[in-house]
Amino acid sequence: MNEKAIIVKNLSKTFRVKEKEKGFKGSIKSIFKTKYREIKAVNDLSFDVDKGEILAFIGPNGAGKSTTIKMLTGILFPDQGTVEVMGIDPKKKRKKLAYEIGTVFGQKEQLWTHLTPYDNFKFFGAIYDIDDYTVEKRIKELKDMFELDEFINTPVRNLSLGQRIRCEIVASLIHKPKILFLDEPTIGLDPVVKENIRTLIKRMNKEYHTTVFLTSHDVGDIEKLCKRIIIVNHGQIVLDDSMENLKYHYLNKKIVEAKMKEKVNLNDEDGITILKDKGYNLKIEVDTTKRSVGDAIKLLNPNNIIDINISNIPLEDIISDIYKRDK
């Protein structure tokens, strides 16, 4: 059996949110009597993560992802259930846990913007009680791995977003954490930089065996990095499967896009769904458990086809389908 980096059992967290009746009257009323509504952000969540694994933990906005991460990192206290991160209970030993984990929140800066990346790394080294010699060695190692040479002495405020995120990740790796929590690390980045960040995360995982707990709305991140995916919605797990399985289940559906010489009149039939029909341009979904792609092409009449493209359903559609199904 694989060693576990994270074990979560029956985790729940409820928030109390103030509620006010609408309008002026409601405002007056709320002064004397405050109403609260309970929101179950996380509801009986159980899962575990192997050491060295890269896990995608995804879900629509408000699904409970961030709340879960915050409970795993000791920021929030769970109402119920138990959490063990590297064998430590975050609720009881938050400081001890801090030495074992690194966090990168794509939307929050943890670097000192007026200092250079180098000064920042030295700062984080001191925070994690690492001696100067070891920090220097570590900075050099990470500088090479994340290709920071060009801007390591430029104040962070003058860096591009891509450069800054690279530095954010390096800063969170200074103390050699066993687990890295990445919360939307590629948000706002251009495709080339995204790709670059993904490659670096992969390389880091391979070389240091760092467990990566990733949340992202970017399907590319999930597809390129993760072997396993957990989808949460309404605070509960709706899917916990390997990426391979997830794709396999949906792989029996193919998308056929065709450009026609002449207009064709097609209707939905068993195993074939028309997704788009613009006369000369067609997009259909073929359920290969019921009909073959060949059948679909025959329906279109091969002599009538100018161009054709057959593809799998994009992961993005698979995921949004799962989100919708759970509504």
């Binding site: 109390r16 000192w112 925070i127 994690y128």
Partner: protein
């Protein structure tokens, strides 16, 4: 301890990039001192006359020192930052680091106060010398004691601001408390020494934090005496312990009920 020194050092490094901004802030300091200089010159018919135990020079030096302490504190900014940290959930990103939030805020804020305080001290002393022509009677020992008590005053004052800011855990916005605090310090601790107030108020002020954060170091600068020094340091240590414990209590209670919503 090393990590807090590093936080302090990083904040000093950051603030050193904004020396020019600090000089701009000095303009309002200059105006205030100038107004008080003229006011006291008008009140004192003779500069050697004593009012409540202070001659004119001592009075003006008193205001110069208390204003250096107050203006280099930057309390409003700190209070607002803590309120925003607590309300906006930013505090979360400090909680999962291996340091105490109070220690972090205190040491980083001291970093900015030290830079600001050094500039204000140099300029304030120059201003006093230009306007008054001489320092009060000082020795190397008294200068060291004034520096130590000023540092203690700043630490206590910063902890008071942190305490007020952390009230955001309980109420939505703690800034009005800060407003109140700053006005009390301004009237009772900055512009007039404690001796200027009548009977019961004077007694209350002698036991109040104002004695520790403002009056103490300024009094030692204008009129140094060993009994005064012992008094000031004892009061400062007592207040340091009290306010630190209060900060810890409110923080621990607050963090337990912390709600960080959304992203």
């Amino acid at each position: 301890m090393r990590k807090y020194l590093y936080i302090f050092k990083s904040e000093v490094m950051t603030n050193m990039q904004y020396i020019f901004n600090l000089l701009v802030g000095f303009i309002s300091y200059f105006i205030l001192i100038f107004i008080f200089l003229n006011l006291w010159k008008y009140i004192y018919s003779d500069s050697n006359e004593l009012i409540n135990g202070y001659n004119m020079n001592q009075m003006i030096w008193y205001v110069i020192i208390t204003e250096i302490l107050w203006m280099s504190l930057g309390g409003r900014k700190l209070c607002r930052k803590i309120c925003e940290d607590v309300r906006g959930g930013n505090i979360a990103y400090n909680i999962n680091k291996p340091y105490s939030y109070i220690g972090y805020i205190l040491s980083s804020h001291l970093g900015s106060v030290v830079v600001k305080g050094s500039i204000f001290t140099i300029l304030g002393m120059l201003l006093g010398l230009i306007f008054l022509g001489k320092f009060p009677h000082l020795t190397l020992f008294s200068i060291i004691i004034v520096l130590i008590t000023s540092l203690l005053a700043t630490i206590i004052n910063t902890l008071f601001v942190i305490f007020i800011g952390l009230f955001s855990f309980i109420i939505e916005d703690a800034n009005p408390f800060w407003w109140l605090y700053s006005k009390v310090i301004l009237v009772f601790g900055t512009l007039f020494p404690i001796e200027y107030f009548p009977g019961i108020i004077k007694t209350i002020l002698s036991y109040s934090p104002i004695y520790a954060v403002s009056y103490g170091p300024a009094k030692l600068f204008v009129d140094f005496s060993i009994p005064n020094m012992v008094n000031v340091i004892i009061v400062q240590i007592i207040y340091l312990i009290i306010i630190y414990v209060l900060c810890l209590l409110i923080y621990r209670k607050g963090v337990r009920k912390l709600n960080v919503n959304g992203g």
